[in-house]
């Protein structure tokens, strides 16, 4: 019997967003790996995360993997670019957290500028996930890094005016973060749109749950947003997705606890890497366009998977 291939085509496309020469989105298929349904003009991208200060809660296996880079974000970013061939760098300005080191916006902006000037791949700059402070920080970063297009965020329903306004002014793209909810994601895109931020400048950060810690909610909300965009043609939900995968995956107890403490869990190094890679792969098949990862080996695995779909 001839099997008729049930290819699914849509009349709508994910909005293409260009960040300093690198494009994401543009596809009319549910995920960047459904190349059998139709063309994927821009394959999903792997960004590697760089912190602006020495990581405090990272497990040793992750710290060891990157080696001696932690006292210098520029060195760290260059290693990710040159050695691990990251498509992008995501600089997390964690030291600006008011409940932590509380570094000033201008200090953070200087670090962002240094990293931006050193690398030749596009830069994503995230705050410390403190809504109010992130507004201030991203504004300073925008000003310092004027001239080269970056993706900045996360903008949420409280700070979107500051972050959206700054991005608009300095011609940066915005990552819009809402807590795992189709309507809230749409609402935030509408608010940004009302400010004047065009749709081709927005990437949705739908909030990422790690493997074993809520990933299924993110998985499904991304599929629902993508279906709304492609099948129903909802213009406010056509944005590509960014997922902070490394950050969530490495929080999990299973990615951190030693084999001595949990003898049945097996080798910790293997487990941690797979915790991150499998979190990533689930979000890739549900539509991720930018996956922010930490461990070079997880990067290698996700890359190997992606390369099959060229």
């Amino acid at each position: 019997m001839a099997f008729k291939e049930p290819v699914e085509k849509y009349n709508n496309a994910v909005t293409e967003v260009e960040i300093s020469g690198l494009k994401v989105g543009g596809q009319s298929v549910l995920t960047g790996v459904y190349t059998f349904d139709g063309p994927v003009p821009n394959a999903p991208k792997i960004a590697m995360e760089v912190l602006d200060s020495r990581p405090e809660e990272w497990p040793q296996t992750l710290i060891d993997a990157l080696g001696d880079v932690y006292d210098d974000p520029v060195k760290w970013a260059l290693k990710c670019q040159n050695e691990y061939k990251a498509d992008m760098i995501c600089l997390s300005l964690v030291s600006t957290d008011p409940n932590g080191m509380n570094k000033s916006a201008s200090e953070a902006a200087a670090v962002a500028k240094a990293v931006l000037d050193a690398i030749n791949i596009p830069l994503i700059v995230y705050g410390s996930l403190n809504s109010e402070k992130d507004g201030e920080v991203i504004k300073a970063v925008g000003e310092a890094c004027h001239g080269k297009v970056m993706l900045v965020g996360p903008a949420d329903d409280e700070n979107y005016r500051t972050i959206g306004g700054s991005a608009l002014g300095y011609k940066h793209k915005v990552a819009a973060n809402s807590p795992i909810d189709v309507n809230l994601a749409k609402q935030l895109n509408i608010l940004l749109g009302n400010l004047g931020v065009p749709m081709d400048s927005i990437v949705i950060d739908p909030t990422t749950g790690g493997l074993g810690y809520g990933i299924e909610y993110t998985f499904s909300v991304m599929q629902r947003i993508r279906l709304a965009a492609l099948a129903q043609g909802d213009d406010k939900l056509k944005s590509p997705f960014i997922n902070l995968i490394g950050k969530e995956a490495w929080k999990a107890r299973e990615a951190k606890i030693s084999e001595q403490e949990e003898p049945t869990f097996g080798d910790l190094a293997t487990r941690g890497i797979l915790w991150e890679a499998i979190t990533a792969i689930n979000l890739l098949v549900s539509g991720s366009d930018i996956m922010v990862l930490r461990h070079p080996e997880a990067v290698r695995l996700v890359r190997a998977f992606l390369n099959e779909f060229k």
């Binding site: 019997m1 074993g212 097996g266 487990r271 890497i273 499998i278």
Partner: protein, 447 residues
């Protein structure tokens, strides 16, 4: 699939005798159509009508079991493309491959390892579900001897041989434990169909592509074999993903009967890189694989693979909750610490496991937050000072302990002041660590 109430009504006796508990046959038909009644409640319905109905209500992907007894696994039975449409039903069994060419000691070690891999998570067991045995030696006696050993583990088996005669003998010998036979192909389908039927065991149909495969399943089906799994022959990541997506679409959306079966994915044959194999297995479990086969039994890989599977197969319409109440852990007494958290099952299991591990006797107060996690419940206004205080006061915790100290999760440190105020005179609200993993250390120093 899916008959309307009226269509079902036409199949019923239409005597309105009420024995089914409904006032009329039509009312009963409506309930059947909505999936809210069982056809067997009507004593007068004809066998013919019954079989028509069960055919009409059967899931678009055949559901059947492999193995026997407690360890049997159910496969197939899926009805949707996306979990948010309803849910995925039968978690993809994970099988590990053993070959009959492995040396005795090696084989025993591997089987022991497989048996030992079992994790408990959120009250559920995550284990290696099946063992796939391959007749690489080509030697029948050797293969049967290895199968004996594998059968002794009690795990459901996949029995793979290129030799039909060997398959036949293995099926006869082990039919009581319902192994899955591998494989019927275009060149042996008649003989293998005969074996599967005679021994009432499920069988894998394999084709080098989907066209060839549908011929094999059509022949099996015509021969009366119903319990079929399909191997589309794909051995690259891209083809395997494509075939799994296409098979699910064709069966669920277009009701193509020839592919209405669970797929089997040979992750072990897609790559030689064991790390990548784990990633591929997880990707395909989330993308419609019915069964996956892995090359090794490594707990560090099986754990993330099975947790990923558990997440994707969680019913999105049913929050996983535990009952509200005070849970004694490690035999607490009147001086033991009191801890409060939410009734999201995941949170409960993580927190209670850490308390148990600490060996510190504790009272764990679980508050009904409709299954939301700590921060989610806090944002939703359910795990907030006044509601928490009202709950604490309603319980008899003050009769269980002499002190008035209560530990809250570190993530909601901000509500401590208000919570203390709401609780009133004498209470002391203590802020615990953020991550449950730090609880043992905290509890050991608790005052």
């Amino acid at each position: 699939m899916g008959l309307t109430g009226i269509q079902i009504y036409k199949l019923l006796p239409q005597t309105n005798c009420k024995e089914c508990g409904e006032p009329t046959c039509l009312a009963f038909a409506m309930k059947l159509a909505a999936g809210k009644a069982d056809i067997n409640l009507c004593p007068y319905v004809s066998e013919e009508a019954k079989s028509k109905l069960s055919e009409a209500t059967a899931p678009p992907i055949r559901e059947f079991s492999i193995g026997a007894g407690d360890s049997a696994v159910k496969v197939g039975g899926e009805t949707v493309m996306f979990r948010h449409e309803k849910t995925f039903f039968n978690p993809t069994p994970v099988a590990v491959l053993v070959k009959d060419t492995e040396a005795d000691a090696e084989l025993d070690a591997k089987l022991n390892k497989i048996k030992g891999i079992c994790f408990e998570r959120v009250g559920k067991k995550l284990c290696v579900d099946m063992i796939a045995v391959k007749n690489d030696s080509g030697d029948k006696a050797k293969f049967l001897a290895v199968l004996d050993k594998v059968a002794a583990t009690g795990k459901p088996m996949l029995i793979a041989s290129e030799n039909v005669d060997t398959l036949k003998e293995a099926a006869e010998k082990f039919k009581a434990v319902r192994p899955l036979l591998y494989a019927a192909t275009s060149s042996n389908v008649d003989a293998v169909a005969e074996i599967a039927k005679a021994n009432n065991v499920p069988v894998v149909a394999r084709g080098s592509n989907l066209n060839e495969l549908t011929d094999v399943t059509a022949k099996l089906s015509a021969a009366g074999v119903k319990d079929i799994a399909i191997d589309t022959g794909a051995r690259t990541i891209k083809d395997a993903l494509k075939d799994n997506v296409f098979v699910r679409r064709a069966s669920v959306k277009q009701k193509v009967k020839e592919v209405g079966y669970p797929t089997i994915v040979m992750a072990n044959e897609i790559t030689n890189d064991p790390m990548l194999e784990a990633v591929i297995a997880s990707a395909l479990i989330s993308q419609y694989a019915g069964i996956v086969v892995l090359s090794e039994a490594d707990p560090a890989k099986i754990l993330p693979i099975t947790v990923s599977r558990m997440n994707v197969f969680t019913d999105p319409q049913r929050p996983m909750v535990v009952e509200q109440g005070i849970y004694p852990i490690n035999n607490p007494d009147e001086n033991s610490p009191v801890i409060i958290t939410v009734n999201f099952a995941l949170t409960y299991f993580i927190v209670s496991a850490e308390i148990e591990a600490s060996r510190v006797p504790c009272w764990l107060m679980i508050m009904d937050t409709e299954g939301l996690s700590v921060l989610t419940a806090w944002s939703a206004g359910k795990f907030v000072a006044d509601a928490m205080a009202a709950y604490v006061k309603k319980t008899d915790i003050t009769q269980k302990v002499k002190h008035k100290k209560i530990i809250i999760p570190g993530y909601v440190a901000q509500l401590s002041g208000e919570f203390q105020e709401e609780l009133g005179e004498g209470w002391e609200v203590q802020i615990g660590p953020r991550e449950a993993g730090d609880l043992p250390k905290y509890l050991k120093m608790w005052k």
